[in-house]
Symmetry: C2
Subunit: 417 residues, 2 copies
């Protein structure tokens, strides 16, 4: 089946908003095995919209519309399609009741134009809108299929994923749907991870294996088409087992969660606490951890020791380490260890992480941009320091250093270090 996606809205043509709907639908249709040949954007103008429908019918057998289902006179998609097909529009009572009771419930006067959101092209199947008012439309006429979805993404997406996809599967006779497992990795770069899995990625057919990198995290998606999740699990198992075997030291979750939320979860389960001593990351690790609701129970706090005075006074780093011609300096294994041990003691926590390094843009203490030391101190255990050479710009180095320190803590929490 060939599809054309038609987005209706003058605000798109004025460049006021980006047509993210087209991307979402293209991806969703591809997963259903439907090819998208064109995406079109047209304004809120009935004549031009009808012309677009005429053209799209000549080159596709499925027309997916977004936008133009709202209450105003500018919302013309339903009317244009009805006029093109020579059909009437009809009221969808359940939607009308929903709209009326919503107005009544909020003590608002019912505005007549809202009635428009309950209209269907004659003969269309209604599509439920769980996040808004306008009802969706699905109908097939003379071998062409029409799917009318609302414009706001928060209404469009659930309608497409639920009733829309169900209707399309019926059309295509497709009984399979896409099942994916997301594997999340830390402490390893995308290229090295890809190298580790390269034969699996090359030989892949079913399931498919793809790697993604963003925001300092690497994800592997393993996907297959299956009738249900039990069948999917059977089809995915061999690939998952092999990936787990090869990457065990870096695989921190089999769902789409960040390393910081995994770490907070493990700390909570183990009733243990952490504190931080940050230099080059400048509070980023702290910021990542405290973004997680509930982190207050496991995070004692931290010191952002940007100056040597702060390192000395707040963390007890000896001045001999920081100053003098032969001192190892602020960016060193010794200072990283002293920072972690200092905050462990001050915060009375079970773990303490430290990060000190050169984020750039310029070198510091004669040390190269990207040189970073990550320390981990624990009560009653020797302190560990990892020396890293990270790449990227200032923000990239800071983010990688922050994520790397969280990976070190994850190793400790899972008995890997």
């Amino acid at each position: 089946m060939r599809a054309e996606i038609i987005a209706v809205g003058t605000e798109l043509l004025l460049g006021q908003i980006v047509n993210t709907n087209a991307q979402y639908l293209s991806k969703g249709l591809a997963e259903l095995g439907i090819d998208v040949y064109y995406q079109t954007v047209v304004g809120d103008n009935k004549d031009r919209l009808i012309e677009v429908i005429r053209l799209a019918r000549s080159r596709a057998d499925l027309l997916v519309f977004t936008g133009g289902l709202g209450p105003t006179m500018d919302d013309l998609t339903r009317d244009a399609l009805a006029e093109y097909l020579g059909r009437d529009v009809e009221l969808h009572e359940p939607t009308m009741n929903k709209i009326e009771s919503l107005f009544a419930g909020r003590g608002m006067t019912f505005v007549e134009s809202n009635r428009r959101q309950a209209l269907l092209v004659e003969g269309a199947t209604p599509l439920r809108n769980d996040t808004g008012l306008a009802v969706g439309n699905a109908l097939s006429v003379d071998g062409t299929h029409y799917l009318l979805l609302p414009g706001p993404p928060r209404e469009m997406k659930p309608m497409f994923d639920n009733d829309g996809t169900a209707w399309l599967k019926q059309l295509t006779g497709e009984t399979l749907s896409l099942h994916s497992v997301m594997l999340k990795f830390a402490g390893i770069g995308e290229s090295l991870l890809e190298e580790t899995l390269i034969d699996l990625i090359r030989e892949q057919n079913d399931p498919t294996i793809a790697t993604y990198a963003k925001e300092g995290e690497v994800t592997v998606r393993v996907s297959t088409k299956a009738r249900d999740s039990a069948e999917a699990q059977r089809k995915l198992e061999a690939a998952l087992t092999e990936i787990r075997r090869r990457t065990e030291s870096y695989l921190y979750a089999e769902e789409d969660v960040s390393i910081e939320s995994k770490v907070v979860q493990l700390l909570t389960e183990q009733r243990r606490t952490v504190s931080l001593a940050e230099s080059c990351t400048g509070g980023m690790v702290s910021q990542l951890i405290t973004m997680i609701p509930g982190s207050a129970d496991v995070f004692q706090g931290g010191v952002v020791s940007y100056s040597n005075l702060m390192k000395h006074r707040q963390l007890g780093v000896p001045n001999e380490l920081l100053d003098g011609p032969d001192a190892p300096g602020a960016v060193s294994e010794e200072t990283a260890a002293a920072m972690a041990e200092g905050v462990l003691k001050a915060a009375d926590s079970d773990f303490a992480l430290s990060v000190t390094g050169v984020a750039g843009p310029a070198a510091s203490e004669g040390k190269p941009v990207g040189l970073v030391f990550v320390g981990l101190a624990q009560k009653g255990q020797p302190t560990r320091v990892d020396k890293l050479q990270l790449s990227g710009d200032r923000e990239g180095i800071r983010l990688r250093a922050a994520k790397r320190s969280l990976y070190t803590l994850w190793q400790a929490l899972t008995g890997r270090a």
Copy 2:
């Protein structure tokens, strides 16, 4: 003039990327007074691309293409247009030289396909590519105008803004261009700012005045069309003067910079330093400041005192403030003051900011979500504490609290507090 934007690329139809180019160009064309009636996306297929050109010619007089100018066999836009127009393609020598010397300079073997990036449709004006290799094309044939731009936004945007816009202005005879001044505000919400300026916004015609809010900052853009910047300045002056008069206490910059970069700039100019004591913001203020290159010279460091133990030990907040039935508690004016004074002393800085509050999702110490105290301590001056009631979710409250503390410091640095 009526335009159609044609994005070429199968990756768009597969939903792998979002067509942000269409939005950028729609906006840019609107500013040039050119109406966009359609946006079309078509894959890397010559026959379909030629069909799209034929159709677009029937409904527009300017066709703006993005994508398909690269080196591979899938990059077909130039070839398709040449075939449609019955013209040859010709080599653009300066681009060819640029590509060859780039390869030579990097010691790489020249790959023949790269030659394709130097090709022009016969008779086209070349458009300079400052951020990539592929040359742009602009030509007019039989009353239809064709503008061919690269697909990657970082190449497309500067080419459109520079040579593309110049070519279009020549076409339309437009001698005016849009001049804008961005006014940046802190310490005031978008709705209150809009209310302050509502009569100016309502009566606006030329210049136009628009407010935007994102990431905890509010921006007002004042724009006019003018022949040159001197004329623009004359046309904008009255509106700017009136806005400045009404909003003087919140207007921290007349260019698009963040409050943290303004604060770092002022600290650098005044050779003064700051330190931080953060509770509910969890390191966010520190993270914002240290994102600015050069902040190391003015930022001494900070303490993220999430636990009361950290507040007491690292900042010297008296236990009587934190514990006991009649104590004001961690979220209080007294604690905010003690935190700021504690870190001022520890870091030996000129200024110290503190933030303590309830970010949510749940209330704390019987205090409501959104209650935040911001403290400012300075050497030899009384400490000031502001009590705020902020709205939003956890991340929104944290961000607003962080920006608000930076606003407080800006006030101090500019003699407003």
